[in-house]
């Protein structure tokens, strides 16, 4: 191991090196009331870290009218001094952002693409067009959008200011922590001095350098590899085609991998895989970056370098995502390599999972045990995402010897036969993870519901997110097909006795029996709920199915109780 190799910071963050960078918004530090009065106040929820995960949670709570304090050590979005991290947001994340009210801005600024091409050497190994993939086409949101992470963060900040309820405290660094029974004490350093506050629920979304792992004695599994990459975010005078190109073995990069994709502002992100012992300072020097661009795009390439960042990655998964009053989410819960966009997107899903549960508990509509299901569900997702990304990392950086031989075998076969394309692993795109052993989901539940469309009673267009918005953080019972008078009576009673809203879903020519109903002319809503024929589906505020069943009976009541954490 050379000295330079040792010096590489193992981080999933991107360190700013050079390039013009982006201009980022700055938010004001406001002296908190605790500093004026010296009073230690107990807050129901304190979130640490205004990254994409912490802001998604804060915005989700604000939308439900739940008060929270958000502490961030910086006064802007993006990592301090750097500003380019995640770039790819999947359909599930976009559906969540639509509920939070920032989707339209993301869609306007971001880039959609559907053609991806994979190369090895001079040849194309295979290509795909996502528009041909029907599983994505029913949602109101596209398969994914490429956009710089800080834009989404900025939109979320502005949305939170608009909604209120969440106190955004900038330049507030947590420097001390003490766990007590049922709450924790935090020490916060600010430009105006330190103060203490108490929190019933501490949400650690502060990223991969969190101090909370040490403070809480969190245990985890970690793995470090020697894979090294260098990003160049560039603007071209003559833009390449709007397609994602990936090279497993790029002749212009020493037969190592290269990723090329477009983001907002006509900026292209090019990821270059480096030698394992590459010196990060050397590979990110402007003349070295320009030489790589010339090798890839030709000697006359005209490009403005917006940002350059070398990075290495590790994989890490906490054993438990909740310790006492502290909940871990985003990069504090797990760290993955960037392949497949499984970092940021799963952080967003972590936040969406916990937001409605915290709201239900703080409103007194669910017992505190509901919060234990956060670990059940999101730990399963974290472990799955770590496994999937480790497999990709192993394909892209095979050990010398047999691992490399098998990769050569797979690549050569993929050029000749379609079956072998399944073995080419340049990243498996993040998905809405399923929950197979959650304490609050039935065996029939645990699946995500796409944001498909239907017709309201007056025949105007609606989508799943509209129904979820209408429930205001409560569970949604959808009953498909005809229902008996007795069942209609039961549903009416249920709607007034439990924290649920009940809606009948009928075909285009069926007469509804329930008070609230929608029309599902093409059966898309029913398909999205993973049920057939006469059935009910219990949909959670995070657009996951808690359970499904056939008749409106005691089974539905039990499913509702279970979904809000009342143990049988």
């Amino acid at each position: 191991m050379s000295a330079a190799y040792h010096d590489v910071a193992y981080t999933n963050g991107y360190e700013f090196t050079q390039g013009k960078g982006y201009e980022l918004p700055e938010y004001p530090f406001v002296e908190p009331p605790e500093l004026k009065t010296g009073e230690v106040r107990r807050h129901p929820i304190v979130i640490i870290g205004a990254g994409i995960t912490g802001l998604t949670l804060a915005c989700g709570l604000a939308r439900l009218g739940i008060p929270a304090v958000l502490l961030d050590e910086d006064n802007t979005v993006g990592v301090k001094g750097a500003s380019s991290r995640g770039i790819c947001y999947t359909q599930k994340s976009l559906e969540i952002f639509q509920r939070l009210g920032v989707y339209e801005r993301i869609a306007a600024k971001g880039i959609q693409w559907s053609v991806g091409r994979t190369f090895a050497g001079q040849d194309e190994v295979y290509s795909f067009d996502l528009r041909q993939n029907s599983s994505y086409s029913l949602s109101a949101q596209p398969p994914f959008i490429n956009i710089q992470q800080f834009y989404i963060e900025g939109y979320l900040v502005e949305r939170i200011y608009e909604l209120g309820h969440v106190d955004l405290r900038w330049k507030s660094r947590v420097s001390g922590f003490k766990q007590h029974a049922g709450y924790a004490t935090l020490t916060v350093d600010t430009p105006a001095g330190p103060y203490a506050l108490e929190a019933q629920h501490v949400i650690d979304a502060s990223g991969s350098h969190t101090p909370f792992h040490a403070w809480t004695g969190a245990t985890m599994t970690s793995r470090r590899g020697d894979d090294r990459w260098c990003i160049a975010d560039v603007r071209f005078k003559h833009r390449p085609p709007q397609e994602r190109h990936t090279w497993i073995e790029a002749p212009f990069n020493g037969n190592r991998a290269v990723w090329q994709h477009l983001m907002g502002d006509e900026v292209w992100r090019i990821d270059y895989q480096m030698e394992p012992n590459a010196d990060p300072e050397h590979v990110s020097r402007e003349d070295v970056v320009r030489e790589r661009l010339r090798l890839q795009f030709g000697p006359d390439v005209q490009a403005e370098i917006v940002w350059v960042g070398p990075y290495a990655y590790r994989s890490q998964c906490l054993d438990r995502l909740r310790i006492g009053s502290v909940f871990f989410m985003g990069d504090t819960a797990k760290i993955v390599s960037p392949f497949g966009a499984r970092g940021g997107n799963t952080g967003v899903a972590d936040a969406d999972n916990l937001a409605w549960k915290l709201a239900a508990v703080l409103r007194g509509q669910a017992p505190a045990t509901l919060l234990d299901s956060y670990n059940d569900e999101r730990h399963e997702a974290a472990a799955q995402n770590v496994m999937v990304t480790n497999r990709t990392a192993r394909f892209l950086r095979p050990a010398e010897g047999m691992e490399r031989t098998f990769r050569s075998a797979a690549i050569s076969l993929a050029r000749q036969h379609p079956f072998a394309r399944a073995l080419i692993n340049t990243g498996r795109m993040a998905v809405a993870n399923s929950y197979t052993h959650s304490g609050i989901c039935d065996r029939s539940g645990g699946l995500s519901v796409q944001n498909v469309s239907f017709r309201w009673a007056d025949h105007s267009a609606g989508c799943v997110n509209d129904l979820i918005e209408w429930t205001g953080g409560q569970l949604l019972v959808l009953v498909f097909g005809d229902i008996s008078a007795a069942a209609a009576q039961r549903l009416r009673h249920l709607g007034s006795a439990a924290p649920v809203r009940c809606v009948q879903v009928v075909g285009p020519d069926t007469r509804p029996q329930a008070r609230e109903f929608v029309i599902d002319p093409q059966g898309h809503l029913q398909g999205a709920c993973h049920v057939f024929g006469h059935a009910w589906a219990l949909v959670r505020p995070d657009a996951y199915i808690a359970a499904t069943g056939e008749s409106v009976d005691a089974g539905l009541i039990q499913a509702i109780e279970r979904a809000i954490g009342i143990k049988e």
Binding site: T405, S408, A409, S412, L413, H417
Partner: protein, 62 residues
Amino acid sequence: MKTTPHFQDADTFYEQLLDAHTGLSREQSELLNARLILLLANQIGAKDVLAECIQAARELPR
């Protein structure tokens, strides 16, 4: 996983396998074997059978 004979013609297969490697360097042979394993694995498909085959290959007789 089948452990009883399933070959239509075991001797011919074995001969074809050896012939395919004749004249190859060690590296070329390794690549051929790897390609063959991937082709055959796709014929099997079933993940439980594949896992059993990998495990059985690891267990040398004592």
